[in-house]
Amino acid sequence: MRAYLRTRGTNRDYDFIGSGPAEYWWRDYHDRDLTDPEKPVILAESTGPTWRIYLQGVESDRSDYRGTPIVYGLVLEGDAADETGLAHGIVGEWLSSITTASAAPGKALDQALGPVDPLLETGDREEGEAVVRAVFSPTGQATEDESGGDLGAIEPESRRTMADPDAEDDPARWLGDIESEESQAAFLAVVAGLLGGRAGRAVILTYAESAGDVSALAEDERGDLAVLVARPNREIVEGRRPLGKAEPVHPQPVGRTPHLRKRNGPANRRGQSIPVEPRRRQSIMVPPTLLVAMVCLASGVLAVLAWEVLPASDDPPRPAPTVTVTQTVVVKERVTVGPTPQPD
């Protein structure tokens, strides 16, 4: 597992300690009007073999030079064979912190990091990762760094138990409210599944408040999908609403002839074929009288041609056509290489 910790110093702007992930994939959620990645959110994605999680919004006890409170962000990347227990613990702690406004993780990170400005300037990613591992270690024991300093791990009591990823075989696809403890627990169960090798997503969306707001995401995501809505001033969503399984994009048409199939338009995002106007056929409308006249004319032309071209049996043989042959004469010039002979 790789961890990238982002924060700001007193003077230095927000950045990842050392280096950031290769891809800033969480911005896609903002571009799609789904979530504000600067707000307290968790975005977990898994392809099955690999997973990645974006966590944002745990508050630090520090403030910048203008007195603005500072927050932490964290990106985790790994695969199903990694320490998924640690990753799940971090997600649980993060969720607890952003839903209960708990200061514990932020304080622990502050304590473990020490002065942040120099770290942002010259620190390595591994230093940030070491702090994350120490603070969120599953044992809950404070880890000591090389200099014997207390890295200040958070209390284990606030941890949630990791849900069994194999508890459900069917894809979990639902939308709940971030205020609901039941939905939070279900969210963590889905995250556990994603870390354990199931494909899908578990996301907190600050621009969403109902299933209609995530319909495009539900269509795109074929695997598990757990959505916690967190739009300010929304109506609280009671329980969990099913999001339905995404349909195949191009369903096979049933009970149609091949001829009709050709006329079907492209499928829309829900997999339903879009009706298209039948192609206008180029037709020639010929009046019958004109048709008869044309047939007569054609017959006459054919008769004349037959009269002219086909020889009668008693006619003398026609002379062969005259062919003019043009002879091309190529004059070869002798080219002398060397000094030009001078006339006497």
Binding site: R6, R8, T10, N11, R12, D13, Y14, D15, F16, S19, G20, Y24, R27, H30, D31, D33, D36, P37, E38, S63, D64, Y65, R66, G67, T68, P69, V71, G73, D117, L120, E121, T206, Y207, D213, R231, P232, N233, Q282, S283, I284, M285, V286
Partner: protein
């Protein structure tokens, strides 16, 4: 829908986000009666404005406004708006890019921030209008020589000049397109007496602006003579009074500037100067849209004429008979009619846009605005 770009060019924590949200929040009522409406396009923009508004309201209720309470920006954010001139098919999309101000300073930008900044810079140079927010308090409350020396660093004037010059060069390559650069000193409540303030130090503010931003103005004027340059001081809130400002040496050994504000009794947001800025931006955008529509309608008229010529053209006796038989002639006439209708629609749109533009153009700037 065509989207016009508006660039923002200012250092970290100057109040870029607040200026944009002020522009958008006030936009609707400022444009009332002009026939033009401004709407947030998408939930991200809608929520960002609401969020900023709530933060400000919270501060005002608490009776103390500290600019530092507003969080800085850590990710680039595209504000998406729609300016609706009330003419069908003439809606104007607007994109404003807000970005972490630290990217402008460039000190210690990471590799990813570097590529982010390149994208921002590209957006800014392609912008029709460029807004340059300036911290008026920083400009006015710096007296001691050791602090005055720090002004270019804190206001990032060198970087602002460099990017503004690039923008001007790009604008000059498109002389037929509108170009506006507005220098907007923000948090000006303490320096004007036209919005509840007691003292008028506006002349001194302008003088200091000229001293510090003279190079930027000269660079833009040299590179894009056709660009409109405006000086538009803004009261971002209106109901606050500066009570304290200070340069402080922090633990890291860096000088930082901070100002504290007291909320006036009425606690009601009363922005000033934002309407002028909005009017200037709207004029530019509608003018730009008008140019585009004019080009489009000219093109459509030409195409309609060509289609009519094709429909009427004789192709010789036999071909004409064949075209009559296979209905090609009829199809050509139908196409010509269709294109003619489209051209007429574009002309109508252009005429309506002209009417709207005329209304906005007649709106006069307030006494704070100065042309540079």
């Amino acid at each position: 829908m065509t989207a016009f770009k508006i660039g923002l060019l200012g250092p970290s924590r100057v109040g870029k986000t607040s200026l944009v949200t002020a522009l958008i929040s006030e936009g609707q009522q400022l444009l009332a009666g002009s026939g033009v409406a401004m709407l947030p396009d998408g939930r991200a923009t809608e929520d960002k404005i609401a969020d900023n508004w709530e933060q400000l309201q919270g501060d005002l209720l608490a009776g103390e406004f500290t600019p530092g309470n507003l969080r800085g920006t850590m990710e680039p954010f595209y504000f998406r708006l729609a300016l609706d001139p009330g003419v069908p098919g003439a809606r104007i999309g607007i994109e404003l890019l807000d970005f972490p101000g630290g990217w402008l300073a460039g000190r210690g930008r990471s590799a990813h921030s570097e590529s982010d900044w390149d994208a921002c810079r590209s957006f800014i140079t392609r912008s029709t209008a460029l807004l340059v927010p300036i911290d008026a308090a920083l400009l006015m409350e710096t007296y001691e020589k050791q602090h005055v020396k720090l002004l270019p660093k804190h206001l990032t004037t060198t970087q602002v000049e460099s990017v503004a010059r690039e923008w001007a060069i790009e604008r000059n390559r498109r002389p037929h397109e509108p170009a506006l650069i507005a220098f907007a000193p923000v948090k000006c409540e303490a320096y004007f007496n036209d919005n509840g303030g007691l003292r008028n130090k506006s002349h001194l503010l302008r003088q200091k602006f000229d001293e510090v931003y003279g190079g930027v103005v000269a660079a833009v004027r040299a590179e894009a003579p056709h660009a409109q340059l405006l000086y538009t001081p803004v009261d971002t809130l209106g109901c606050v009074e500066m009570v304290k400002s200070d340069w402080v040496l922090n633990e890291a050994g860096d000088w930082t500037f901070d100002a504290k504000y007291r909320v006036r009794r009425d606690r009601k947001i009363s922005r000033m100067g934002v309407d002028d800025l909005m009017t200037a931006v709207s004029q530019q955008l509608i003018q730009g849209k008008r140019t585009m529509t004019a080009d489009e309608s000219a093109d459509l008229i030409q195409r309609a004429q060509q289609a009519q010529d094709l429909a009427d053209r004789s192709e010789g006796f036999f071909r004409d008979v064949l075209m009559w038989l296979n209905r090609e002639r009829q199809a050509r006439r139908e196409a010509a009619g269709r294109q003619d209708r489209e051209a007429q629609e574009a002309v109508r749109r252009l005429q309506s846009l002209d009417t709207v533009l005329e209304k906005i153009a007649t709106r006069k700037f307030g006494p704070r605005v100065q042309r540079l």
